[in-house]
């Protein structure tokens, strides 16, 4: 009887208790559940503990598979941690969202007007509406931009707003992100992940999609990017590079929108026109969506110490030939102190109050304001007037609730009196809470839920893009979730979480997919920056070099296991050969091998936007496995088996590239790198192991390392001789492990590169490859002497130089 009883679901919301004086997203002021949440909560509360865990894990798995990581600034540029997804979304009704966006649209126009004034007539200052010292004292107010009209007529094109709900239920703006707002790509990834967690038709059919926003923005970027004759030019993203904390997002959004991902060194400015260095030479650029701070954009006119900028970029802007999203200098709008003046400026410029108020702010440069902040320090956050971080990202030199954080000082009164012009007070607002899954500490009994739903403070980031029709808003966004009970812990770098934001309609919404409609991805021709081609070429070389080393190390340990005699002549030869490449085979997994894999990974990290996430995951897996083996593998049979595992993993990567990578210029450079490296490795192998002076058994070693044992048996049906081995590994046009094969493949690849021919004749690269290919095609094995092999290696190195000078700079 008891056996058939339906297991009751645990009440996951049992501990969801509201705090007086704090607004909540799930419950309204009367304690009634907001209708927009009802159906979601009903479903969620019915899930068993095991199902909650399984669903959350599906979301996490998606993010891991997609390679969504959050990079932390640290000494090791490759340190990443998992994306801190809070699995329960924030749910808002479309009517409420509409209202928020209306208010933010007004604010966006106001910010554009302030920007135009600060870099134009300066009337806000001369009219007494903004203190001159605030503007002149801002590092983000860029003097070279004064008097410059932005291309396209607007300064601001892509904005984000951090908003929060105050205790009375109304929304307020906590910060404006005008410099280079991040997070739009993360919003997309959050949505993909929550799609795995909550795949049901409801609520999915009622949630507004994000794709429309991106489609509109992409079109706007393309219009902004057009050439003077209206010709289509690819807009590009300008990134600070892989060591930036949001680099993953840059690669993701570049792939998603079909934009080129560029670094400062990819650009040059010629005749006040910004150009991309591509494999075909410089190509003009019309618009850059910059993800670098403006002061780093041009070392000649801004921060001279910048190594990520492009000299002359400001000249392209001044010449009206380059649109920046957003204009250089837009960071000045982010300073906290501006919030103190915006309500008044809104009245002055538009005659209207702010539809959506911002967080109450007082600039302490004014006597009256300073006194007020001093008297009310108990409910203030006091910090730098020029700081551009959000009110909740408190630094060491801020005071909260009348107490200093970090650096100790005499008193707040003294601080305000001596440094008032550099300080603002901001109301220490209390944010609303929203349901978040909080893991229970310690182990949980089988079948019990591993956590529970608790109210946690949150803010929402809203994204806006300027289109031909005006500001358009993402119907969604992402929320930052703080720890339960701690409203100051929101900064993600200090361990908060993020969640998806669902804008829900009462009716099903049009079901266009996340994949953009029509051909908008293919509207503009792609470009391959020379630096990306360079990284792909070297990625190919490093991967091949690593695979070759793994095979050699395996051959060593197989012989060691067979002979148990390190003094064996073949082992000595192998040791010397590997030693020439820096490998110490007394280590079962040599440190140098780990270094090689790491180098390949670093190369791949710089072109993550150009190959699949599976390929990236395969490289990471190889790295991880090899590192684990350093702790466990023993010389001999054990190490040989370990190397076999690594060979399979690295060929897995190669297979992914070969099977899945689109046969475009990027793939050609990756392949060229591999073929070139393999040709060189084979020549070196034959030089050492097919030399007449090499010890007996060396020829068999060469065939084994060349992965051609079976082919040799089939083709020659005799014992190895120098002639058969040289024939197979150097002169066989059909053996994918022969030098001639590599040369032939390289020629085919090069024939499809730009500028392969000059005026109908062979270009320099083909002129160099063809004679090598012809010579090997007609050579007899006996002619391929050790001297000839040395010459061949020199010629192959020459090919690499020609590739570099023709395409890679």
């Amino acid at each position: 009887m008891a056996k058939t009883e339906r297991q009751t679901a645990p009440d996951l919301f049992a501990d969801y208790r509201l705090t007086t004086g704090v607004a909540d997203e799930l419950f309204d002021a009367q304690g009634q559940m907001r209708p927009v949440w009802r159906r979601f909560v009903d479903r969620f509360a019915r899930l068993s503990a095991a199902e909650v865990t399984a669903r959350f894990e599906r979301g996490n798995q998606y993010l891991r598979d997609a390679g969504v990581f959050f990079r932390q600034y640290s000494n090791d540029p490759l340190t990443e941690r998992e994306w801190p997804l809070s699995h329960i979304p924030v749910i808002l009704h479309e009517d409420e969202w509409e209202q928020i966006c209306e208010g933010l649209s007004q604010r966006a126009d106001l910010l554009e007007a302030v920007m135009a004034d600060l870099y134009g007539e300066g009337k806000l200052v001369s009219g007494g509406h903004l203190p001159a010292e605030l503007v002149a004292g801002s590092k983000q107010w860029l003097r070279p931009m004064v008097g410059v009209t932005p291309r396209g007529g607007h300064y601001l094109h892509f904005l984000a707003f951090e908003i929060g709900r105050s205790p009375d239920g109304s929304w307020l703006v906590l910060g404006d992100r005008t410099q280079a707002p991040s997070g739009a790509g993360f919003a997309l990834e959050n949505r993909m992940a929550t799609g795995r967690i909550f795949p049901e038709r409801f609520p999915r059919a009622h949630i507004h999609r994000l794709a429309g926003f991106f489609q509109g923005y992409r079109q706007a970027l393309e219009r902004l990017s057009r050439g003077p004759g209206g010709e289509i030019r690819t807009p590009a993203i300008l990134t600070p590079g892989p060591s930036n904390d949001t680099y993953y997002e840059h690669t993701y959004i570049a792939r998603y929108l079909g934009l080129a991902l560029l670094e400062g060194e990819d650009l040059l400015v010629e005749n006040a026109q910004a150009m991309v260095r591509t494999i075909e030479g410089p190509k003009p650029l019309g618009a850059l969506w910059r993800r670098i701070d403006a002061i780093f954009a041009d070392p000649l006119e801004f921060d001279a110490g910048s190594e990520i900028g492009t000299p002359g970029l400001m000249e392209a802007v001044r010449g009206g030939n380059l649109a920046m999203v957003n204009a250089l200098g837009s960071g000045v709008l982010e300073m906290r102190a501006l919030m103190a003046f915006l309500p008044r400026i809104s009245q002055v410029l538009t005659g209207k109050p702010l539809a959506l108020p911002n967080i109450a702010t007082w600039w302490c440069g004014g006597t009256r304001e300073r006194k007020y902040v001093e008297a009310n320090a108990e409910r203030m956050m006091i910090g730098s007037a020029h700081a551009v971080d959000l009110p909740f990202d408190l630094g060491a030199t801020t005071a909260l609730g009348g107490r200093f954080r970090g650096a100790a000082r005499e008193s707040i009164a003294e601080w305000l009196a001596t440094e008032g012009t550099h300080l603002v007070g901001q109301e220490a607002v209390t944010l609303s809470t929203t349901p978040a899954w909080v893991e229970t500490e310690g182990p949980t009994p089988e079948g019990e839920p591993t956590g529970r739903v608790l109210p946690c403070p949150m803010t929402v980031r809203v994204f806006a893009a300027r289109t031909a029709q005006g500001w358009t808003f993402m119907k969604g966004g992402y929320a930052r979730i703080g720890r339960s009970g701690d409203a100051t812990a929101l900064a993600m770098q200090r361990g908060g979480a993020v969640s998806d934001v669902w804008i829900v309609s009462d009716r099903p919404v049009p079901a266009h997919s996340l994949a953009p409609e029509g051909d908008f991805r293919r509207a503009a021709p792609g470009i391959l920056p020379a630096r990306s081609a360079d990284n792909l070429f070297w990625l190919g070389r490093y991967v091949e070099r690593t695979e070759d080393a793994i095979r050699l190390i395996r051959a060593y340990h197989l012989r060691l296991a067979a002979t148990d005699n390190p003094g064996d002549p073949r082992l000595r030869l192998l040791r010397a050969f590997l030693g020439g490449y820096g490998f110490d085979v007394t280590q079962a997994v040599p440190d140098t091998l780990i270094g090689r894999i790491e180098t390949a990974r670093a190369c791949a990290a710089k072109v993550r936007d150009r190959f699949s996430t599976d390929g990236w995951a395969a490289l990471k897996d190889l790295d991880k496995t090899a590192r684990q083996m350093t702790r466990t593998a023993k010389p001999g049979d054990d190490a040989a088996r370990a190397m076999s595992v690594l060979v399979r993993k690295i060929t897995g990567f190669s297979g992914l590239v070969h099977e899945n990578m689109y046969r475009f210029e990027g793939w050609r450079f990756l392949s060229l790198g591999r073929k070139l490296e393999r040709a060189d490795a084979l020549a070196a192998l034959l030089r050492a192991f097919a030399d007449p002076a090499a010890p007996p058994g060396s020829l068999d070693l060469a065939v084994e390392v060349g992965d051609s044992v079976i082919t040799h048996q089939r083709r020659y049906r005799v014992e190895t001789s120098r002639d058969t081995v040289v024939d197979l590994l150097a002169l066989d046009a059909d053996n994918p492990r022969a030098i001639l094969f590599q040369l032939r493949e390289m020629r085919k690849l090069v024939e499809n590169l730009p500028n392969a021919y000059e005026n109908g004749r062979l270009g320099p690269l083909l002129r160099a490859i063809s004679p090598l290919e012809s010579a090997l095609s007609v050579a007899e094995p006996a002619e391929i002497t050790s001297e000839r092999l040395i010459e061949l290696r020199g010629a192959i190195a020459g090919l690499s130089d020609i590739i570099a000078t023709s395409y890679l700079r």
């Binding site: 200052v125 001159a132 002149a136 004292g137 003097r143 005749n271 070392p299 002359g312």
Partner: protein, 302 residues
């Protein structure tokens, strides 16, 4: 006073520099009531593929030059004839230094002359407690701003030793002040930090200083370099005044201005970015020849 000025700057690179781009601030401008350009010419060798002459935010003549082909060496040559007007006697109408703050706030502008640009930290000069303390010791109650500027400049001139070898173009004001030595750039940066530290807006002037031969010796040509001194805001009536801490004097008719800014970063005569490995070498020669060479003048150090 009429001056014929020649300036020759030569750069050479260890390896040819690809796509060299320079930003030059070398040409003296017209400054109403102070100096007048009769002629000026900046020639560049080898001839750049691009050259643009504009004014920067502070009104300085800015020349942007680009070479599309690799270059190994660059020669910059300026010749100018400038009339420097006699400086009228300076009446001290400046407020007591204690009340300057209110005068600054009353100045509602972000135009290039606004004192607000010259008060906080700038790229090369940040406030420093030691230098501020030094400046404070120079002030007396109710001292006028003008007197304060000269007192600080004079005290620094006494405290710091001119040493052409001790510092480089990258030396910070903190380093120069700690060692109490440097060249005109260091004197100017330390004085700017000192004045800003006590709330007096201060900026950097680059230019030329007429030089004089030691008694009984012929004028040495080309032995001098570009000079630097300080401008400071002495309230609405006196406005901007200029003082040379290296020579302990107001910048008068012996001085020809090239560029003004918040510090060296705003006025650097040659800013360059090259794509090349290896270092670079540079050489600079300046000649400031008064057309009335017979006029007797006292001897001063450059």
């Amino acid at each position: 006073m009429l001056y014929d000025i020649t300036l020759q700057i030569d750069y050479s690179y260890a390896a040819p520099s690809d796509r060299l781009r320079n930003l030059l601030r070398l040409m003296p401008p017209d400054i109403p009531g102070v100096q007048r350009v009769i002629r000026r010419k900046l020639t560049i060798d080898p001839a750049p593929d691009e050259r643009r002459d504009t004014l920067d935010f502070f009104g300085n003549a800015m020349t942007s030059v680009v070479w599309h082909r690799p270059v190994e060496a660059v020669g910059l040559n300026l010749t100018a004839r400038i009339e420097r007007f006699p400086a009228p006697p300076l009446l001290d109408l400046s407020p007591p230094h204690e009340t300057l703050g209110a005068e600054i706030i009353a100045h509602d502008s972000i135009g290039p002359e606004a004192p607000q640009h010259f008060l906080g930290a700038s790229p090369r000069v940040a406030p420093l407690p030691e230098i501020t303390a030094f400046a404070r010791d120079c002030l007396t109650p109710r001292m006028t701003v003008l007197a304060a500027i000269e007192a600080v400049g004079r005290a620094l001139h006494r405290a710091m030793r001119f040493d052409a070898e001790a510092t480089t173009v990258d030396t910070t004001p903190a380093e120069a002040f700690a060692a109490r030595h440097g060249v005109c750039q260091d004197f100017a940066h330390v004085m700017i930090a000192a004045l800003r530290g006590v709330g007096i807006p201060a900026g950097y002037v680059s230019g030329f200083l007429r030089t004089f031969p030691p008694p009984g010796q012929p004028r040495l040509e080309g032995a001098d370099a570009m000079h630097a001194w300080v401008r400071a805001w002495a309230g609405p009536d006196n406005g901007w005044v200029e003082f040379d801490p290296t020579n302990d004097q107001r910048a008068g008719t012996d001085y020809v201005t090239v560029a003004i800014g918040r510090d060296y970063a705003d006025v650097a005569p040659v800013l360059g970015v090259m794509r090349s490995s290896g270092g670079q070498e540079s050489r600079q020669a300046v000649d400031v020849l008064p057309l009335d060479t017979l006029r007797a003048e006292p001897l001063r150090q450059p």
